[in-house]
Symmetry: C2
Subunit: 209 residues, 2 copies
C-alpha cells in the first residue's frame, strides 16, 4: 500500500488488518477511531492485549483459558465431576456456560481432527482426556466408573462429527456412556429455509413425544 | 456480563467492545484470536496502538494526520499550492489520495457544522483556513490571489452541504473561486435503484456533453 498514511498510522492499520474479519477499510476505521481516543483509553486497550497474552494460560485439567493453574470451573466443587462435556474450542465452552444449564465439567480439545489441515488426533488434547479419565478411575478405587458420561459437543460439521466418532471409538471400550449433542432444527427455525442435511438429521434424530 | 471468561480475558473483551463496529460477539472472537497469536505479534499490535497515539499529530497547516510538524502533502513542492480541497475528515483526504488524480493541497476541517450535535463553525478549523489563505495572499505580495480555487469536498449530506454553503459565504467575498464536488449518480450505479434525492441532484447538476 502506498503511504497515504503517516508511518505510525500505517503501521497501526497494518497490525489491525491482521485481525480476523478486519479488512483494509475496517482497519482504517479502527485506526482513526484509536487516534481520536484519549490517551488513557488507548493505553488501556494496548495494556489489555499485553496482559491477556501474559496472564492467560490454559487450565492444567480441562484446557479452558484461565489466569491460574486450574480454571474456575474445574475448581468449582458444586459442579458434577461425573460428566465431561468435550468441546473443540474454549469459545464453545463459553457458549454452553451462557445457557446456565450445564453443571458438569468440560474438556477443551483445542481443535478437531482435520486431515485436510494436517491435524490428526495426536495434535488434540485427547491423550490428556484419557489420562484424566484414568486418573478419576484410580482415585475412585473400585466400583462403578466415576466418570459416568462424556458428552461430545464438537460442531455438527464433517470434522466435528469425525472427531466425535473417533472419541467414541476410544472411550466406549472404557465402559463409559458417550453421548453426542443433538443435530436437528434450530429453535425458531423455518423448515422451508432449512438445508437438506439439517432436515435429514432432524428425521434421523427424531424421538417419541 | 457474568464471568464466563477469566479476568484478563474479560478485560480484553471489554476494551475491544469499545471499538466502533465491534459488538460482544466480534470482541470475543478478536480476543480469542489475540490469545492464539504469538507473543511478538500481540506485542506488535499493542505497541502500534501506543505509538500511533503518541507519535501521530495533526499537521500545523492542513490538519491532516502526520508524525511531523507539517505533513508530507504540505511539504511536497510538486503539489499545487493554488488549489485547496477542503474535507471534513482525514479519512476523506485519504479517499481522494487513493484516486491519484488530485495534485493540489488539502484542508481538514475536523468535522462538519451540525447544530443537532452542538457543533458550530467555531469548532471547525475554518479560522485556520482563513488565516492560511490570508497568509498566502500576504506572501504573494500583489497581483492575482495565490489561492485560485477552493474545492469543498464535504459529504453530500445535510451537514456537509450546510458546511459547504457556510464556507462559500465567507470565502467568495475574498475573490476566490469556490467549487463543490459534483452530486449525481455513482459510476456503475443503477437508475432504478437510485434514491430520489440522488436522481434530483443528477438532473440539477447535469451539463452539456
Amino acid at each position: 500500500m502506498p503511504s497515504y498514511f503517516t508511518r505510525p498510522l500505517s503501521r497501526l492499520v497494518a497490525e489491525l488488518e491482521k485481525l480476523p474479519g478486519v479488512g483494509p477499510k475496517s482497519a482504517q476505521r479502527l485506526a482513526f477511531f484509536i487516534l481520536r481516543m484519549n490517551d488513557e483509553e488507548a493505553q488501556n486497550l494496548a495494556q489489555a492485549i499485553v496482559e491477556a497474552k501474559s496472564h492467560v494460560q490454559t487450565c492444567r485439567v480441562c484446557f479452558n483459558y484461565t489466569d491460574q493453574d486450574i480454571c474456575e470451573i474445574c475448581r468449582d466443587e458444586r459442579r458434577d465431576t461425573g460428566c465431561i462435556c468435550v468441546v473443540a474450542d474454549a469459545r464453545d465452552l463459553v457458549a454452553f456456560e451462557r445457557t446456565n444449564e450445564y453443571k458438569g465439567r468440560y474438556h477443551v480439545l483445542q481443535g478437531v481432527i482435520s486431515p485436510m489441515d494436517g491435524i490428526g488426533p495426536e495434535r488434540l488434547r485427547i491423550r490428556e482426556l484419557q489420562q484424566r479419565i484414568a486418573q478419576a478411575q484410580q482415585d475412585n478405587g473400585s466400583g462403578a466408573h466415576p466418570v459416568s458420561e462424556i458428552i461430545i459437543a464438537t460442531n455438527p460439521t464433517i470434522e466435528g462429527d469425525a472427531t466425535a466418532m473417533y472419541l467414541a471409538g476410544i472411550l466406549k471400550p472404557l465402559g463409559i456412556k458417550v453421548t453426542r449433542i443433538a443435530h436437528g432444527m434450530p429453535v425458531g427455525g423455518d423448515l422451508d429455509y432449512a438445508d437438506q442435511a439439517t432436515l435429514i438429521q432432524s428425521l434421523e434424530w427424531r424421538r417419541e413425544i
